[in-house]
């Protein structure tokens, strides 16, 4: 059994920690894990991604297009950018809050992310849409977006573990003062 995951977004959204928590949980369960992510220039407001693979018989952390079981998109356009990697029937969890690139501001264009979301839902009808910005406000911290996304992704059922297991890894790796906040974010589900 192999699991191919792609986490994508914009530098500074906490993607690396998300990937580490999944990897840490896999390690704990003795599941082999590999990952690869963007480091360097790309971090300054650039697109950021992390490939993550769990299971036996892997040679490299990257995988070709059409092979991701799950894409966790922290930003609508970034999810669309990486969509070719999704395999048929794969799942997508996406944050609906757009991040405006500086170049768009300069050109005076008004990127809203809406056209990205409609493209996404057209191609992946069961994509899970989540307003991460609103969720962060509800929980009371702009820093928990990654935990919100991670919780929602685990609930999709693609990953071989539960939110509680991820929570345990979080408690082992993150500073204690953030435990309560992160736990709330991991368990966050939009009501209504």
């Amino acid at each position: 059994m192999q699991n191919n995951l792609l986490i994508c977004g914009v530098g500074g959204q906490g993607i690396v920690l998300t990937s580490k928590l999944i990897a840490g949980t896999a390690m704990h369960r003795d599941i082999p894990v590999m990952s690869a992510e963007t480091i360097g220039m790309a971090q300054k407001g650039g697109s950021v991604f992390s490939f993550l693979r769990l299971g036996e018989g892997m040679y490299c952390p990257m995988f070709p297009e059409g092979s991701a079981d799950l894409i966790i998109g922290f930003e609508p356009a970034e999810a669309v950018r990486m969509l070719p990697y999704l395999k048929k029937g794969g799942k997508v969890v996406v944050n609906t809050h757009p991040i405006m690139p500086v170049t768009a501001t300069l050109k005076g264009s008004d990127y809203t992310g809406r056209e990205m979301l409609s493209y996404l839902t057209e191609h992946v009808p069961d994509a899970v849409l989540l307003d991460g910005d609103a969720a962060c406000r509800e929980i009371g911290s702009p820093k928990v977006l990654n935990m919100i996304m991670l919780g929602a992704a685990v609930r999709c059922g693609v990953l071989p573990f539960s939110v509680e297991e991820i929570e345990e890894t979080m408690r082992r790796t993150v500073k204690e003062q953030f435990h309560a906040l992160n736990s709330r974010a991991l368990h966050y589900e939009k009501r209504g």
Partner: protein, 605 residues
């Protein structure tokens, strides 16, 4: 043994430490940086770690330690080896006593480098053995072998991972502390006939190096990491030769199929000739899947000539593999399918997405470099001027709307390039921009040259008290070392005055008006002069309160956006707004707004 989830660079450091590492020195550079950082973080008392001022210094320091029989590692990125090539070429002749591994990370793509140079050529050029790992686990294992070969053959060896191995993570088997070696260096033993390079000595050394490399080619032919994997396809007379991360792409592409024979070359120099001949035996065609240069392809082509083999060698030289850029799972799969006559891997045939926003890297919100560039731009408005940039975050000053970098070549080049331009165009106001870390690494000699040769130029040092681009490493101006000591800071101003620059001013770029006046004042003086724009990297200081825009005063002229391009300034429904999550409150935009519409807290009321 136990399992850990490690980054490739961390695995290299941990592997080196398991081999009894005593000393590590390096100069920061993507994708090599985390090797030294990991060593510093996991260090025990017996290990000394330093960021040297540049790669040449690091390599010479490593040589000295290795003369004392210490096990040493030197770390750098590929272009850093150009800087260190002078000691490298000579040290290859002198040799070492303790194991010495020179870690040089290559960057196919290139993703964050100026060139796509291939360190495997440096190996054959300098005649030094070279190791090329293909995975995180292999990097951990092979670096230990590299130390063993180095010490056994008393020669420095090159260890050359590429970005995807350096920055990949994997759960790997690592040694328990009691399995790791502890090595005590015996110290320097005086022997001028060994440690002093002389033409006669070099002649002798050259002879024995050639002899050793022939021997090593045989030894490496039996080396466990130089693999030949038999074909699973019946009667298949095709083979694939590959290396590094491309080997893993190849194996992914072949998994679950009747596969051709595969060779993985983990020691590109000395080339494992006997192993390669075993691989070539009976094959009609071989496809070489390599990144950067066709090193294996040339070796195999040569071997076929030497041994009159009928095998056709295909790859970059024959146009079967793309000549430049990074390989990927997809590119390897496509190249292999074409070679094997398999159906091309199916692409995804979905409708094209709406135009995606591009996100080129930009200077951070609140970055003081933005202010420095803008001050020079304002001061030089309407004057014929040239702006020579250098390597660091501030290379991003080339982007619109700042558009303030006319040239960028290599570390420390700007200060000299600007002198060259000034000689041809004496009526031009010549500026060189250099960061603090780059200044120490390689711009001081350029400043001396300018003073000595009576250039007319302004050197602008962007001093943000860190090496920001590669992840905030300390340097001589920061007063901190990798051993955790607090030391006297080397003053850039004192250095410049010391080499004879008399007009030196230090200014805060975030005080825009004063900064602009400073540039005008300094530029007006003859000869070599310097400005030090001093303000800490925005990532390292606690952000101030975001500014706010007074809607009553803002005329939507968008001057702030068009002059600065700060990510903190955004358009919301067509109106200028502050992105609260990014703005650091640096106040630069407030000084640019012609209607004083931008200000601090109390301002909006």
């Amino acid at each position: 043994m136990h399992k850990e989830f490690l980054m490739g660079n961390a695995a290299i450091a941990r592997g080196a430490m398991a081999a009894g590492l005593n000393r590590v020195a390096g100069y920061t550079g993507t994708p090599s940086t985390e090797v030294l950082e990991t060593a510093a973080r996991c260090r025990q008392d017996a290990l000394y770690v330093e960021w040297s001022v540049n790669e040449k210094a690091a390599l010479e320091l490593g040589a000295g330690a290795a003369y004392c029989a210490a096990r040493t590692m030197v770390t750098m990125k590929q272009v850093g080896l150009n800087v260190a090539s002078d000691p490298l070429m000579s040290l290859a002749y002198i040799g070492v006593k303790g194991g010495m591994v020179i870690l040089v990370a290559d960057d196919p793509g290139p993703i964050s480098s100026q060139t796509e140079q291939d360190t495997r050529h440096f190996a054959s050029f300098s005649k030094l053995p070279c190791f090329d790992p293909s995975s995180v686990q292999e990097a951990y294992d092979m670096i230990q072998d590299a130390f063993a070969y180095s010490e056994q053959y008393r020669t420095p060896v090159l260890f050359r991972p590429t970005t995807r191995v350096c920055h990949g993570y994997a759960s790997i088997e690592v040694k328990d502390p009691e399995e790791c070696e502890v090595h005590a260096p015996e110290g320097f033993v005086r022997d001028p006939s060994k440690w002093v390079i002389f033409p006669r000595l070099s002649y002798q050394a050259h002879l024995s190096i050639e002899k050793r490399n022939t021997e090593l080619s045989g030894v490496f032919s039996e080396y466990a990491h130089n693999l030949v994997i038999p074909e699973t396809a019946p009667d298949c007379r095709r083979g694939i030769a590959t290396h590094g991360i491309s080997y893993t792409y190849t194996m992914e592409a072949l998994s679950g199929r009747q596969a051709p024979r595969v060779m993985k070359v983990s020691t590109p120099f000395p080339f494992p000739e006997q192993a390669a001949l075993r691989f070539l035996e009976g094959l009609d065609e071989v496809l070489c899947i390599e990144e950067l240069d066709p090193v294996i392809e040339r070796e195999l082509t040569y071997l076929c000539g030497k041994h009159h083999l009928p095998t056709r060698i295909l790859g970059k030289l024959t146009g079967h593999v793309r000549a430049a850029g990074e390989n990927s799972c997809a590119s390897a799969a496509a190249d292999i399918a074409a070679f094997m006559g398999w159906e091309a891997p199916a692409g995804t045939e979905t409708a094209p997405p709406p135009p995606l926003p591009v996100r080129p890297p930009v200077l951070c919100a609140g970055c003081p470099h933005r202010a420095s560039f803008f001050a020079v731009k304002e001061a030089m408005k309407g004057k014929k001027s040239v702006f020579c940039g250098d390597i660091g975050c501030y290379t991003l000053g080339n982007a619109m709307p700042l558009d303030m970098v006319d040239t960028c070549l290599c570390m420390g080049a700007g200060v000299n390039i600007t002198q060259g331009i000034g000689r041809i165009e004496p009526d031009t106001h010549c500026f060189a921009f250099v960061g603090d870390s780059t200044f120490f690494a390689s711009a001081i000699t350029g400043a001396v040259n300018a003073v000595y040769n009576q250039a007319d130029m302004t050197l602008v040092v962007f001093d943000n008290s860190t090496t920001a681009m590669t992840g905030h490493q300390p340097h001589p101006g920061t007063g901190r070392t990798m051993m955790g000591e607090v030391v006297e800071k080397v003053s850039i101003e004192a250095v410049l005055r010391g080499v004879g620059v008399t007009a030196v001013e230090t200014a805060d770029p975030l005080q825009l008006q004063e900064a602009v006046e400073c540039v005008r004042r300094v530029d007006a003086q003859p000869g070599v002069k310097a400005i030090i724009f001093k303000s800490p990297c925005a990532v390292l200081i606690k952000s101030g309160k975001p500014v706010s825009i007074d809607p009553a005063k803002c005329t939507q002229c968008k001057r702030c956006i068009r002059s600065l391009g700060c990510p903190g300034l955004v358009l919301r429904d067509g109106r200028v707004a502050i992105e609260q999550s990014l703005c650091t409150g640096c106040g630069l935009c407030a000084q640019v707004c012609p209607f004083t519409a931008i200000g601090g807290d109390d301002h909006a009321e």
